[in-house]
């Protein structure tokens, strides 16, 4: 049953939905949004851009037949078009609807395909905003992948938004941090947009998207050098000033966490991969990087000459590193053992008990989880059932 905004005002439904799902996680919000009668007929709108695959995957797990609207502005990168087909097939989505501008409108307003050079807003209106508006006429609500961290215009984003008293906009990922998006893609082995690896963290139409330099805002490559922030489908009053590139800033360093506190990495001899472990002559200055899917048996007989082993944690939920550490210790490795990557402060005691000496974390994680949070778990030797059971207490 379609919702009649005159009978059930959008603002009331949005307020109720936000109250009801305030404490829910992204997946739960999406799942409920698809079925809650207060939401009504709903579609996912996706650009099949850099991070779109997260919501598409969540949707495919819940309901592959839910409608997905893909706006083909006919100005997209060819990579986006092939990625769109690849993702839709891989996830088994059965109702992807491609939305385009009406040919007669394009013929009338942008016959040469050069409108974007003269007036980007008019181009967005023609190729994106208007076709989407038409497609959404049949829906009471639509799902977007917008997140709070994406800028000041989005900083107070709620799960459910009132779009001009006409429709509800659902933002299941509103509270996600950049790392959550990465974790989700890694954990679910999702295919990545090919342009991400080539320096495009946010992807729109080809003429108006450029590469982003390290350290720049991920959306800095959209309409670069223009006052524009949003294409118009998410238009909000109020402007953001995106900062310029940080000048001459020192490349931030990873932090080393030990029982003593935070410190800089004192290892300066570099790391090699397991396949590159060479002659024992390299010893004792050899340090090896191990991915989390290493088979520890493949290292039998090679541990003798290694000074430091660094085990990768691609996500805090990937607990293989803990068993790898224990195995290496049981195989007789006595050198330095380091966990590196997405390790949480709350996991520090586990890492130490499993056999690690230290943890290496990114500047971003260092900022989010200050030393006090690690210190709370630094007393890892007490309250430990394992040492009692092994007689090492």
């Amino acid at each position: 049953m379609p919702h009649d905004p005159m009978i059930h005002p959008v603002a009331d439904r949005v307020a109720g939905l936000n109250a009801r799902y305030r404490n829910h996680a992204a997946q739960a919000v999406l799942e409920r949004a698809l079925t809650d009668p207060h939401v009504g007929r709903i579609a996912l709108v996706s650009s099949f851009g850099a991070e779109s695959v997260v919501l598409l995957h969540m949707l495919s797990v819940i309901d592959r037949s839910a409608p997905v609207l893909f706006i083909d502005t006919q100005m997209l990168f060819p990579e986006t078009l092939s990625y769109q087909a690849e993702v839709a097939t891989a996830l088994g989505l059965t109702d992807v609807r491609t939305i385009r501008a009406r040919p007669e409108a394009v013929a009338a307003r942008d016959p040469e395909g050069l409108l974007h050079q003269a007036d980007t807003d008019a181009c967005c209106d023609l190729r994106k905003t208007e076709p989407l508006e038409r497609a959404l006429a049949d829906f009471d609500a639509w799902i977007t992948g917008r997140k709070r961290f994406q800028g000041a215009t989005r900083a107070t984003l709620d799960f459910f938004e009132n779009e001009g008293d006409r429709r509800i906009k659902v933002n299941p990922l509103a509270h996600w941090a950049p790392q959550d998006v990465q974790d989700y893609m890694i954990n679910n082995r999702l295919p990545r947009h090919p342009l991400v690896a080539r320096g495009y963290p946010s992807i729109g139409c080809a003429p108006c998207t450029s590469r982003v330099a390290p350290g720049e805002d991920p959306r800095a490559g959209r309409w670069r050098d223009a006052e524009k922030e949003e294409c118009g489908i998410h238009f909000i009053n109020g402007k953001v000033v995106r900062g310029p590139l940080p000048k001459e800033e020192e490349q931030p360093m990873n932090m080393l966490v030990t029982d003593q506190g935070f410190g800089k990495d004192d290892w300066t001899n570099g790391f090699v991969s397991a396949e590159q472990i060479g002659a024992p002559a390299d010893a004792p200055m050899l340090a090896v990087d191990l991915p989390s899917d290493t088979d520890p048996a493949s290292l039998a007989g090679l541990l003798q000459g290694i000074a430091l082993i660094r085990v990768e944690f691609p996500s805090f939920a990937d607990g293989r590193g803990f068993t790898l550490a224990r195995r290496l210790r049981l195989m007789g490795f006595n050198g330095r053992l380091r966990a590196r990557g997405h390790v949480l402060a709350d996991q520090y005691a586990m890492a130490r008990r499993a056999g690690f000496d230290e943890v290496e974390i990114s500047p971003e994680l260092t900022a989010r989880q200050p030393w006090e949070q690690w210190q709370a778990r630094a007393g890892w030797q007490s309250h430990d059932y394992q040492s009692r059971l092994r007689g090492t207490a």
Partner: protein, 558 residues
């Protein structure tokens, strides 16, 4: 019963303090729900359809009266005055408010309980035979082993972030009441040819969307090797288990995809390495644990009161004949208190009922209670002379339902009424079946029968191992119930076979009625149970009863 030592006590208090700080960070907004999730899951706190849900561990289902009273207190203070006992021998509170949770955990710690590892991708609360320590058919009480496993698995540094959740069950008896073949690891105590007790180790069983019977990985494991062997299995799984798809991440899929031979070879190799790390301290600890589980001093006395009540009081007799099981001491009985009154929610108990059960355990039952995976409460040691008085008190508390093992003793998951994953209602179906057979007065005539109902494909209601299993699904927005037949969770393990097309919500109870009336016609005398009749006759005649239309059509065609 096991009593916390200073170490256990300090451990649990430390965890409460840690979690209280995390809750405070969540409430003041410095932790988002996404960041808070793994932390709350490590402490048994779920987010459900309507609210948070706290799942409290009842290790191997054993409680004393003080603990049961505390559960009643928490139900009154932080919930709506009741608790829900689950198929994992736990208790769940469905309506706690987040700011109350630290207080709840602290109240639990006061009686040596916790909610640690009742959720998350870790080794969950160990389950066991609810008749342990009392059953006549037992080789050894499995609970000291279960307690040893609890200590070993608690906060195990390697195993807090496994590919998926991991469940271990132990039974000390050849008659399996702990469904060990449907667990990630099942341990069944057996004797070798020299009479020495040890474990048959079973791995890779499970129900859920891909039901599988566990496979024997080690036919006989000496008891002293238990922890290093378990550690070998779980560490092999931690590295080998799939992490790309949560529906393929359980060890049953790992075993299925790699083959039991490959997994066994890897485990045995790992075991040799792991064994070196255990120097006997675990066995010393075990013998201390074991002392705590010594049988109570059974009282001696005449059982005349029981005999005369049994002869003279038909209501008592009906209850005694269904709800008592044989105790190893012939003057004693094992009492099962049914939480399955027809029309009520299976497994729910009010705070007042919990207090009555605690009182009865204290007065008549050597201060012991058990939660069974069939969602009832067991008093394992009651002298027969006390049974009439106990029964009278149960009647007064509305707890004297005489239906253990019968048609209305149904396992049901919470279903769409509480669970965010559910696709259909299950509790109302259980209630209506129970009420219907109450009206028909056929329960005792039908005899032993296990009906199990799940409200979604995840199978929390164990429908695969029900003699009659009911699975509620969502078909294009309409509830639809599939029936499976012939499942069995005991030592004769079998996964039920799907009978045919599903039934609508208003058709499912009549379908069960047709099925059971057909059984009464088909059986070879009163002694032949539903399951035996199904095994003798096969699905044919039962399907015919379920689908009379199709049957008529077939005959016309013939």
């Amino acid at each position: 019963m096991y009593k916390y030592n200073d170490f256990d006590e300090a451990f649990v208090r430390e965890r409460v303090a840690q979690f209280s700080a995390q809750v405070a960070r969540r409430i003041d907004g410095s932790l988002s729900e996404e960041e808070f999730r793994p932390l709350r899951l490590m402490n048994g706190l779920y987010l459900q359809l309507h609210a948070y849900m706290l799942r409290v561990a009842v290790p191997y289902g054993t409680l004393n009266s003080r603990q049961m009273r505390q559960l009643a207190y928490i139900a009154e203070r932080c919930d709506k005055g009741y608790g829900h006992f689950t198929t994992r021998q736990n208790i769940q509170y469905n309506w706690p408010k987040l700011p109350d949770v630290p207080d709840m955990l602290s109240a639990l710690a006061d009686v040596e309980m916790h909610a640690i590892q009742t959720s998350g991708n870790t080794i969950r609360n160990v389950t066991s035979d609810h008749f342990a320590g009392a059953a006549a058919d037992e080789i050894e009480d499995p609970r000291p082993w279960a307690e040893l496993i609890r200590q070993w698995s608690t906060d195990h540094p390697e195993f807090q972030f496994l590919p998926r959740k991991f469940k271990i069950a132990v039974t000390g008896s050849p008659n399996d009441r702990a469904v060990v073949k449907a667990h990630d690891i099942g341990l069944r105590m057996i004797r070798d040819e020299n009479g020495e007790a040890g474990f048959e180790v079973i791995v890779g069983g499970g129900l859920g969307r891909t039901p599988m019977e566990g496979k024997v990985i080690r036919p006989f494991l000496p008891k002293a090797d238990l922890l290093p062997y378990l550690e070998a299995i779980v560490s092999v799984y931690n590295l080998l288990g799939r992490r790309d798809n949560k529906y393929k991440a359980r060890i049953k899929i790992t075993v299925h995809e790699n083959g039991i031979e490959t997994v066994r070879a890897m485990v045995e190799e790992e075991f040799l390495l792991r064994r070196t790390a255990f120097g006997g301290a675990d066995q010393a600890l075990f013998s201390q644990i074991s002392d705590a589980f010594r049988a109570p001093a059974f009282s001696v006395g005449p059982t005349v009161a029981y005999d005369s009540a049994h002869a003279g009081d038909p209501v008592f007799r009906a209850w005694a004949d269904t709800n008592l099981a044989r105790h190893r001491n012939p003057d004693y009985a094992i009492v099962t208190i049914s939480l399955k009154k027809p029309g009520a929610t299976p497994g729910d108990a009010t705070a007042a009922q919990m207090r009555v059960m605690a009182d009865l355990a204290e007065e008549f039952g050597h201060d012991e209670l058990r939660v069974s995976h069939e969602q009832n409460i067991v008093l394992p040691h009651v002298h027969r002379a006390n049974l009439p008085a106990l029964h009278a008190r149960l009647i007064a508390a509305d707890l004297a339902t005489a239906n253990i093992g019968l048609v209305s003793d149904i396992i049901a998951c919470p279903g769409m009424d509480y669970c965010a994953l559910a696709t259909a209602r299950s509790i109302p179906v259980a209630q209506e079946i129970a009420t219907r057979f109450e009206e028909l007065r056929l329960a005792h005539d039908i005899g032993p029968l296990k009906i199990k109902i799940s409200g979604c494909i995840n199978a929390c209601g164990h429908h695969h191992v029900g003699h009659i299993g009911i699975l509620g699904l969502d078909r294009a927005g309409v509830e639809n119930y599939q029936i499976t037949l012939g499942g069995d969770g005991t030592q004769d393990f079998a996964i039920g076979e799907r009978a045919g097309p599903g039934f609508a919500y208003d058709e499912i109870v009549p379908a069960i009625e047709r099925l059971l009336l057909a059984y009464l016609d088909l059986r070879d005398g009163q002694e032949e149970t539903f399951l035996d009749a199904y095994r003798r006759l096969g699905p044919g005649p039962f399907k015919a009863a379920l689908y009379p239309e199709a049957e008529r059509g077939r005959k016309h065609a013939a």
